[in-house]
């Protein structure tokens, strides 16, 4: 069984999406030129999600990747809701009042976010009312709390993450009279998701990370070469500080059982996540909710299963770690990706592949005849070959697609091997997950001219 190159391309490109920040008369005044994103499923259905939006009432752009586990419900909910929580957290008091007044009097709302979505990136219609009410309660509280201080992005991000996770938990506890919705909020709460979110405003880049997705900056050195700068720390067993943190939060008696086989309580890979109420609620609460819940939930062995050595919940938090970075002209791009990418590729390679892709032709040395004896025919051949090389680089119009092609198809020499690519992509659904994980990538390209002018 063998996929032809066009078949490979159609699989790789099925979910690709590009957004270019609109220009005025050939000029882009934003520090972001645009972004490319793509995802390649291994699970069926895919459990990764992605989001991108421009804040309309404040400045800045939000981008995020979300890696779901135990189903996609939580990742889906976070991908729909998190940016609204962040945007609301960033809004000044007057705007919040204006929005609340509009809702109160039934007038049209100010748009808060402009989404940049692939057609496959859906929003659940059924839950929108419920989600909206929770969000409204949040901003009403923000209005009441009016601190009068300007909103700090770091704080806004942390608050938004924690609040959304809290709402997810509450909605599941309260339930919903509509049985479909009731089941939905429970699935959201009992599944989990990591999140890695970037907020870019001018040269201020904030990364808020919860879990083991990763943000990485592509930096071009003076000699033109590429290096990677990490802008997030993985929250997993490989991160000593994270292990330390978890141990600090629980009694010494649990020290041995907290992390087993590099997993939290021997079960969960990420040490921070949305949802996953099994690691957050008390045993009583879990039992009560499951018993009063719908049959599907009751019959699910996974949800009913209580983690071993479960004494002092919560064991898990959605609180993100926020890193602030001031963009410099040499910072050319940002890669946000779920662990599916980082498992297969070293960040240094990621920086190089994306960097070379984005600069493309520009980096090819121009030809000079100089004193050499070159015939027209030879020159023609040379130029044809150069064009072919360039076009193979540009076979992908999307940096994220290009990266996936390498992640899945690279051979030992670091070049894409079509045969390998074809094999990996034609794996039957049930096998795919054994060879690779879902991969979701967003590549944000920065505008060095604008950044340099700050």
């Amino acid at each position: 069984f063998y996929l032809t190159p066009p078949q490979v391309n159609s699989i790789l490109k099925a979910n690709e999406y590009s957004f270019k920040v609109p220009e005025f008369d050939g000029k882009n005044v934003s520090s972001v030129l645009g972004f490319d994103s793509n995802q390649l499923p291994a699970n069926a259905p895919i459990e990764d999600r992605r989001s991108a939006a421009t804040c309309l009432q404040t400045r800045g752009m939000l981008l995020g990747v979300f890696d779901g586990h135990a189903g996609c419900a939580c990742a889906q909910a976070v991908s729909e809701r998190l940016f609204y929580y962040i945007a609301v957290s960033l809004l000044p008091h007057e705007t919040l009042l204006e929005i609340e007044n509009a809702v109160e009097s039934g007038r049209a709302l100010l748009p808060i976010l402009q989404w940049h979505k692939h057609p496959n990136d859906y929003f659940s219609k059924e839950a929108s009312k419920l989600y909206f009410n929770s969000l409204r309660t949040y901003w009403q509280e923000l209005i009441d709390l009016n601190s009068g201080e300007t909103t700090d992005v770091r704080e806004a991000l942390i608050n938004a993450f924690k609040r959304l996770d809290n709402d997810i938990s509450l909605e599941a506890q309260v339930g919903d009279p509509n049985s479909f919705l009731n089941y939905l909020v429970l699935r959201v709460a009992f599944s989990g998701a990591t999140a890695c979110v970037a907020h870019v405003d001018g040269i201020d880049l904030h990364i808020a990370n919860t879990g083991d997705s990763r943000a990485m900056l592509g930096v071009q050195e003076e000699d033109g070469s590429w290096s990677a700068l990490n802008l997030s720390y993985d929250h997993n067993a490989q991160n000593e500080h994270e292990v330390e943190r978890v141990k600090m939060e629980h009694p010494k008696s649990e020290e041995k059982s907290l992390v087993k086989q590099d997993r939290l309580l021997g079960l969960l890979m990420p040490f921070r996540a949305f949802g996953d109420v099994k690691f957050k609620w008390s045993i009583e609460l879990q039992k009560r909710v499951i018993e009063s819940g719908p049959d599907q939930l009751n019959e699910n062995e996974y949800t009913k299963f209580i983690p071993p050595n479960y004494h002092t919940p919560p064991y898990l938090t959605a609180e993100p770690e926020v890193i602030h970075h001031k963009l410099r002209p040499q910072d050319k791009f940002l890669v946000l990706a779920t662990d599916g990418l980082w498992e297969t590729m070293h960040r240094q390679d990621v920086a190089r592949i994306v960097g070379e892709y984005l600069t493309g032709v520009h980096h090819q040395q121009p030809i000079a005849v100089g004193g050499y004896k070159v015939t027209l025919g030879q020159m023609h051949g040379l130029l044809t070959e150069r064009r072919a090389r360039i076009s193979s680089v540009f076979e992908d119009q999307n940096a994220a697609t290009h990266l996936i092609r390498h992640a899945v198809g690279n051979n030992e020499f670091g070049t894409v091997d079509h045969e390998r690519l074809s094999k990996m992509l034609s794996l039957p659904e049930e096998l795919a997950r054994m060879y690779r994980d879902d991969i979701t990538i967003i590549v944000v390209q920065f505008n060095s001219h604008v950044i340099g002018a700050y």
């Binding site: 005849v369 015939t375 020159m379």
Partner: protein
């Protein structure tokens, strides 16, 4: 590399040069970087200062000095012929689509041919001929059209088969060719040497040449040039000529009063090779392969080949200095497609060794035509620049016309298509120029079919109704930056996309325009004509009337509320402008002229109106939206909207009145339509435009109103034999020559400009006559359509060219308008053209080599149009030019 090319391309015997000149320049000619002292100081004053020692500057100096002007200083910031001129490919080609360009190239060729003999400077002139190849039938048609115009000018030229091509040039691969055009007298020169030869001759005639002298700016006082400031001091002068090539834009903007010269440089690449094993003959014809976007000439036993790529690289948008030109990089990747085209055309050249890829910036203009003439704002400031990479072909003729212009006040040919005043400030934005030249440069090779429009730099000037009209299916063209509707595509109907609609045959909008015309004839149509130039001239006393009576040929001392069609004539009686003037009050006039008259007409009047603070002229073009209501029911629509009777008894033809339309008051209504159909033009203060338009459309519904565009207008005016300025009329055409004596009042009790010339013509007769031709055996569906510039034959002999054409939906025939001359059969001398001469001939129109029988008429078909016409409605004016 630059030094090498100076040696390669300009192989001049410096010792032979004028001794005085040699003193000024040193013997270190071949190295361009050595700094040298300036042994001769600049004069404190001169009559003329020319800036730019390239082919244009030297040609102007040469021709001025030949015409007897001696007090001339030519300044060059680097060395003579060191800019674009040095790198020019040196192809002198007469195959030009625009008639005036063709004439310039023809003259240049003749000039260069004898230049070596005249000056003793080797010019490298070689009559090789040129072959233009056609890969498609459409290309062949465009070549045939050019061949027709060359032939009637007496320039040998033939359409040849691919087989013949091989005989002329054995290296050419002819497999994909359908034909070619051969011009045997086209030539090759070393352009740098031609420039040096011209400089040598000029220098002998007394022109002072100073190299390494930069002009920083030109000083202007009271609208006249007074001098130039250079890095070596000031020179007082009466005339300044800007021949600064791609730096002309910068130089124009350097003074206090900017002179806008819209041009922009693009990189241009060509290849030089070593000689072939068996060196190519220097007499081998030059090959132009427009479909492959390349040209190929023999060069020192090898070839020189360049082209006009689809993705040009504009440069110097921010303005740079001359030095950068020498540091431009070769870009092989960019040249790749042209190299492919070259090897496809001449596969035998594969083994030929490359010498160099030359990067030689060329300047391009917004409409692909060069720029010459006097600044509209600074008298005595002349310009010659923007050659669109054909500098060597044009230099001789262009220099001659500009010299004539300066010495005589006007050139010997109609150069309006090249006149600087066709542009205004609106074309001089750097962004506009950068975008436009990226379209213009590829157009050098693109097929140009009738009615093509530029796609870049659009939507600059628009009517307030633009969005409304656009939403109703308007298709747009541009004139002087203004968007105008061509026609309206009905909902649900799809036209071909841009590339596919390119045709020399019947266009896809034929039926659409037909139904718009029908509606104009039977009901009523609205055409937005806001682009027309509108001036108001008023005074405290009689100054306005008196001045205008002198400047216009018709009698303007008419009762208030009357509209007069009149020419604005020059001393020779030729049309500088053709306009309609309404007398708004005893002391104020409202003047409507063609769109592209905005700069020219303003300058013409400004320079001639007395300097009187009580006489005020204002450009009010932007203040009014003009809606033309054409058709028999226009009167009904308007009277219902104004509650005023609009019939002929109350509102006769050629009348102007301010009235209310809908809620809006102060609408200037004129009973003219520029088509000869009944109707009105409404001049609406722009804030009311949308309201009035909506009212008109709502009220008009029951009368069958619809939108129409300029194509309908054009068809209507041409079948009525209306001449349009800029298309049919120019500065070399008098009212007598186009049957408009009735628009001239020779006895209006006072003198007017052009009167003497007209009286003389009245006495002695005219030498050309504007004539209408109805094509007889032309099949609209199958045959090539006429455009303009087609040769007219009378009894088998060439008598003139058409100036415009359109399909008449009423006659169901094509109508061409054009001028008939009477050349003496033996001597070729021009004779008087009489009515009998016109009427007693058998006529044919030559469309791309195919001749169609035509019936000539000196007066429009009145019988066909009597239906709803009133007798007094003989308005013979209009303002459109396609």
């Amino acid at each position: 590399a630059a030094g090498m090319f100076l040696r390669l391309l300009s192989d001049v015997q410096w010792r032979a040069a004028h001794p005085k000149w040699r003193r000024m320049t040193s013997s270190q000619r071949s190295t361009s970087t050595t700094a040298e002292p300036h042994p001769v100081s600049l004069p404190a004053q001169a009559q003329v200062v020319i800036c730019g020692g390239g082919i244009m500057g030297t040609s102007v100096a040469y021709h001025l000095s030949k015409m007897g002007w001696k007090d001339i200083v030519l300044l060059e910031q680097g060395r003579l012929a060191a800019g674009t001129t040095r790198f020019c490919a040196g192809i002198v080609s007469t195959a030009r689509p625009v008639s005036i360009e063709l004439k310039m190239a023809h003259y240049s060729n003749k000039l260069y041919q004898q230049l070596e003999q005249e000056t003793g400077v080797q010019t490298g002139y070689m009559k090789t001929g040129s072959i233009s190849l056609a890969q498609t039938q459409d290309r062949l048609i465009s070549l045939k059209r050019i061949a027709s115009s060359l032939n009637v000018m007496g320039i040998p030229c033939e359409i040849i088969s691919p087989k013949k091509v091989v005989q002329l040039h054995p290296l050419i691969n002819i497999h994909d060719l359908v034909g070619a055009m051969y011009v045997p007298e086209d030539a090759l020169v070393s352009s740098a040497n031609v420039s040096l030869a011209l400089a040598t001759a000029a220098s002998r005639n007394g022109v002072q040449i100073h190299e390494r002298t930069s002009v920083s700016h030109v000083t202007v006082q009271k609208g006249r040039v007074t001098g130039v400031e250079t890095d070596r001091g000031r020179i007082q002068c009466e005339y300044f000529v800007n021949c600064a090539g791609q730096w002309a834009y910068e130089l124009g903007h350097s003074g206090e009063e900017p002179v806008h010269i819209p041009l922009h440089a693009c990189e241009h690449f060509y290849l030089l090779t070593h000689p072939l094993q068996e060196p190519l003959s220097s007499s081998l014809p030059t090959v132009v392969d427009p479909d492959g976007r390349i040209y190929i000439r023999n060069w020192q036993g090898g070839i020189l080949s360049g082209g006009f790529e689809k993705n040009p690289k504009p440069l110097f948008t921010e303005g740079r200095n001359q030095l950068e030109i020498q540091n431009l990089q070769e870009d092989w990747d960019h040249f790749g497609p042209l190299l492919s085209a070259l090897l496809r055309r001449m596969p035998g050249l594969e083994a030929l060794q490359i010498m160099q890829l030359v990067n030689c910036p060329e300047s391009f203009t917004p409409d692909m035509r060069c720029i010459m003439g006097e600044s509209p704002t600074a008298r005595g400031y002349f310009v010659l620049a923007g050659m669109n990479s054909a500098g060597i072909s044009y230099a001789g003729g262009a220099g001659k016309y500009l010299a004539e212009w300066m010495v005589n006040g006007y050139p010997s040919e109609n150069v309006w298509p090249l006149d600087l005043k066709r542009f205004g400030t609106l074309q001089s934005s750097r962004t506009f120029l950068r975008h436009r030249v990226m379209e213009v440069m590829p157009l050098m090779c693109d097929l140009k079919v009738p009615r093509w429009d530029f796609q870049t730099g659009r939507q600059l000037r628009t009517s307030p109704l633009y969005d409304r009209l656009d939403a109703q299916g308007a298709r747009w063209m541009e004139k002087h930056g203004f968007e105008r509707v061509k026609y309206f595509v009905p909902p649900g109907k799809d036209l071909l996309d841009l590339d596919h609609s390119k045709t020399f045959y019947k266009p896809d909008w034929f039926d659409i325009v037909g139904s718009e015309v029908k509606c104009c004839k039977e009901a009523v149509c609205v055409i937005d004509m806001s682009s027309f130039t509108k001036f108001e001239i008023s005074s405290t006393g009689d100054q306005a009337l008196e001045s205008l009576q002198y400047l216009f040929s018709n009698d303007l001392d008419v009762p208030v509320g009357h509209v007069v069609h009149t020419g604005m004539l020059n001393e020779k009686g030729g049309y500088e402008n053709d306009c309609s003037i309404a007398r708004l009050s005893k002391r104020s006039f409202f003047m409507i002229s063609p769109t592209d008259q905005q700069v020219h007409c303003w300058a013409w009047l400004k320079n001639r109106l007395p300097d009187d603070s009580n006489l005020i002229m204002e450009d009010v073009t932007w203040k009014y939206t003009a809606l033309n209501l054409i058709g028999p029911r226009a009167v009904d629509v308007l009277s219902e909207l104004s509650y005023a009777p609009m019939t002929a008894e109350h509102f006769p033809s050629l009348f102007c009145k301010e009235m209310s339309v809908g809620y809006a008051n102060g609408i200037r209504v004129m009973s003219i339509t520029h088509t000869g159909e009944p109707g009105f033009v409404l001049y609406i203060p722009i804030e009311y435009a949308l309201h009035v338009y909506n009212e008109v459309m709502n009220m008009g519904q029951k009368y069958g109103i619809r939108n129409a565009g300029y194509y309908a207008l054009r068809s209507l005016r041409i079948e009525k034999f209306f001449a349009f300025w800029g298309q049919d009329l120019d500065a070399f055409t008098t009212p007598m020559e186009c049957g408009r004596e009735f628009q001239v009042k020779l006895e209006k009790g006072m003198q007017f400009l052009g009167q003497e010339a007209l009286l003389e013509q009245k006495q002695n007769g005219v030498y050309k006559r504007f004539t209408m031709f109805i094509l007889e055996d032309h099949d609209t569906d199958m045959d090539l359509w006429p455009w303009w510039g087609e040769p007219i034959f009378r009894n088998g002999r060439y008598v003139g060219k058409t100036t415009s054409s359109a399909y008449s939906y009423t006659l169901e025939r094509h109508v061409c308008l054009g001028f008939v001359h009477h050349f003496d059969e033996k001597t070729g001398e021009e004779l008087v053209v009489t009515t009998d001469f016109i009427n007693q001939g058998e006529y044919e129109i030559d469309i791309a080599g195919q001749r169609f029988q035509a019936k000539a008429k000196l007066y429009p078909f009145s019988s066909l149009f009597t239906q709803r016409r009133r007798k007094d409605e003989m308005e013979l004016s209009g303002y459109q030019r396609e």
